[in-house]
Amino acid sequence: MIDALLDNIVSMIYIILGGVLISWSVHFVPVGGAPAAMAQATGIGTGTVQLAAGAGLTGLVSAGFMMNVTDNLPLILASGAVGAMIMIAVTMIVGTWVYVYGVGCVPSSAKVKVDPITKYRQDLYVSQGTEGHGLPTVSFVSGVIGGLLGGIGGALVYYALIEVGLKAGLTAGTSSSVTGHELVGIAAMFAIGIFFVNAVIPSYNIGGTIEGFHDPKWKKWPKAVISSFVATILCAVVAVIAISQLGVI
């Protein structure tokens, strides 16, 4: 087992790096939790883990497809990032439609007086009894950055796990059956698991709502990243041993 870990040390580093990137990415995603669903807080009206996982896993689907046709690591990471960015950008633009046309409120932040990107005044547009609503430009851009980092992180973890399996003599790639290859299924399962672990850890930092990188809570990210670093090492050890043992049998 120790040999398996030492043989796959580069893959382990990739997995840990991916986990840390996912953890950092979650801080960028503007989530308002339950209050945002009632236009009571700025951000997207859902939970941190759920949105980050939704975006990151969409990136994983794109990266999985790309890995099928090429083994160029930068391209695989870029396609994972693009998949996640598209998902989160589409969700946010449709969210804006609902906030502006369906609910009738102006996208505004309650954490800053002016939007750092557009320089628009925010405090005058926050309605009474709420902590902002909708997605001002700064939150939108922050969300896209979150998708980018999360997509790269998820793709990196998946790529590393597939590499471990290929080294152990398993096969990946297209399969005509609905069950697919054993390695692809297990690598995807571990990648999703590692994604969830690293999406949950930062949500303790965020505590339900964060508006993006301009939010004071964002500055707390080093704590979550260090915790994720430790947690991902444990995940990586289990995943690498499990996948490399699969090849032995």
Binding site: A37, A39, G45, F65, V100, V106, V184, G185
Partner: protein
């Protein structure tokens, strides 16, 4: 694969995803799930007993992921072990998933209503009997469409992930999108229609949901009727766009042909995202001008 066939399959996937998104949102409106349900749950405690179905099995992404994975697992067994035709297998899989979801819906709404006895919240058995089949119906449509998307991606477009894995991932994604887009229409507008339009929910009005309908006492049907006009369709567009655009870039610029084409697909994706950022900014400016500031600028007054 021929690019034209690839585009045709992609169009079919986009349509199925759009229907899945719309039915997912309406399912969560008729049964009241996810974040807006916090207000339905809170209402009796604020002395507003109601007749709205109160099922929050879990957050929407996990509950949809469960539904889709159950359906896909059943379909996979039927296709690979019993060599059943894929269409029948997907229908049976979706049916089993809808039954599982119906069970969760009934147990959660009964448990939630019963636990609020001290706040005089009744358990409306007729409401549970009438709403549960609708919830199961929407759950069936969602699961079936997600299974179609996953099946076409696995078998026709040659995605390496197994059917169940893809169905799980798309289940998480459709739940995340439904909970972030369409549910806002239900939570911020439909539940609080008695307050001024465009004000968001003032924290002091929490729990004071609308309990009387256009005729009689409001129930989940009235909510899905309203949300089907805007919240449901836009959720469908959001999920359809996510699935379609995510695959469109690699279908038009096929990375299997050359590495350069692969990079073109990345560039195309980034351009789409930039267009969406600009679109959001345009809507923001329009809304600021149309709705105007809510407060007077005190700093300007002080300086004047």
């Amino acid at each position: 694969m021929e690019p034209l066939i690839g585009m045709g399959v992609l169009a079919l996937i986009g349509v199925a995803a759009t229907i899945a998104g719309a039915s997912e949102d309406l399912e969560s409106d008729v049964g009241s799930q996810s974040n807006p349900n916090s207000q339905v749950q809170l209402a009796p405690q604020m002395m507003f007993p109601h007749r709205i179905y109160n099922k929050a099995v879990s957050g929407e992404p996990p509950s949809n992921a469960l539904m889709c994975s159950v359906g896909a697992a059943v379909a996979t067994v039927l296709i690979s072990e019993f060599t059943l035709s894929p269409l029948f297998a997907l229908v049976i899989g979706a049916l089993v998933a809808a039954c599982v979801h119906g069970t969760f819906a009934v147990t959660s709404t009964m448990g939630r209503a019963a636990s609020q006895r001290r706040f005089k919240q009744p358990v409306y058995l007729d409401m549970i009997r009438s709403h549960t089949p609708v919830i199961m119906g929407y759950a069936f449509i969602t699961t079936f469409c997600i299974l179609i998307v996953s099946y076409l991606m696995t078998v026709v477009l040659g995605h390496p992930f197994p059917l169940t894995m893809l169905a799980f991932i798309w289940g998480i994604t459709v739940g995340a999108i439904g909970s972030s887009t369409g549910d806002v229409h239900y939570g911020a507008e439909r539940e609080f229609q008695q307050f001024e339009f465009g004000s968001g929910l003032n924290a002091s009005n929490s729990g004071n949901i609308v309990r009387y309908g256009e005729s009689g006492v409001r129930n989940g049907y009235d909510n899905s009727w309203f949300c089907a006009k805007f919240g449901g369709p836009v959720t469908g567009i959001a999920f359809g766009m996510t699935v379609f655009l995510g695959s469109w870039v690699t279908t038009v610029f096929d990375p299997a042909v050359s590495l350069t084409r692969g990079w073109f697909s990345v560039v195309a994706g980034v351009i789409i995202v930039l267009i969406l950022i600009i679109w959001n900014w345009k809507i923001e400016v329009k809304a600021r001008n149309a709705f105007g500031p809510y407060k007077e600028d005190k700093t300007e007054e002080a300086s004047a």
